[in-house]
Amino acid sequence: MSAVIKTATPFVIEEVLMEALTAVGAEPRRVSSSDVDLVQRNRLQIGDILTNRSDYNGRQLFRFELDRWVMMHDSDEYAGRTVDRFSEKGYIKVSRFLTDVSGAYESAYGMYLEKLAEQERIRLEEERKARVETTRQQAIAKAKAQGYSVKETTNSKGQIQLVLTRMV
C-alpha cells in the first residue's frame, strides 16, 4: 500500500527542500533520465527527489504535484530501512521524519529568504553604481563637447565632483 502525506509545512521550493533533506541526512538526489528504469513499486519520474530511505515500495521519494513536493512511501512502512552510507543511522518513522524535515525546511527557508534579500541588495547597489557612472560619463562628455575643461575630484562625502571651466 502506498501513501501520500501532506505536511503542515508546504514543501514548495525545491532548493529549500533539498537543503532540508540534506540537513536531516536523507541524502537527496534528483532522478534523472538514467534512473527512470530503476525497478521499484514507486515508479520513478524524472525530477523526483530520492531519499536514502526505503520500504516495501522501494526508495521513498518526493514528487512535485500541483504546487508542492509530497512524500511518497508505503503507508505501513513495511520493510522500512535506510540505505545510508553511514550504517549507524537508523530508520525513523515517516511521521517523525517529516517533522524533522519540516523543521529543517523552516530553517533552510529562512536562509533562502536572507539569500534572496542579499541578492536584491547587491542588485540595487550595482544599479545605483551604474546610474552614478552613467551620469558622470554623460556629464563629462557633454561638458567637453561644449568647450569646458573638466577636473574631477571627490568631496568630503565621497561624492564625485566635476569642476567645469571655460573662458568666454
Binding site: 545605483r128 552614478v132 556629464a139 561638458a143 561624492q159 564625485i160 566635476l162 569642476v163 567645469l164 571651466t165
Partner: protein, 69 residues
Amino acid sequence: MPEQKITLTIDDDGAITATTSGFKGESCLEALDELLNLEGVVSCVKKTDEYHQQQTLQTARVQSLRGKS
C-alpha cells in the same frame, strides 16, 4: 577673458547638484540646461547672491540704455 565655472556634484543616487560662477543672470540656467538637459528634471533652483547681483546689473544697464534713446 572671463572664466565660466560650473561645479557638478553627483550624489550617491546619481542626482546632480550644480553651482555656477562667472555667468550673467539667466545665462547660468541656460548653460546648465544645455549641459544637463534640465527640462522637467530640476527639483530645486536656489539663486545665489551673484545671480541677483548680475540681474540687478543687467536691469540697470537696460534702464540706462533706455534713458539714452
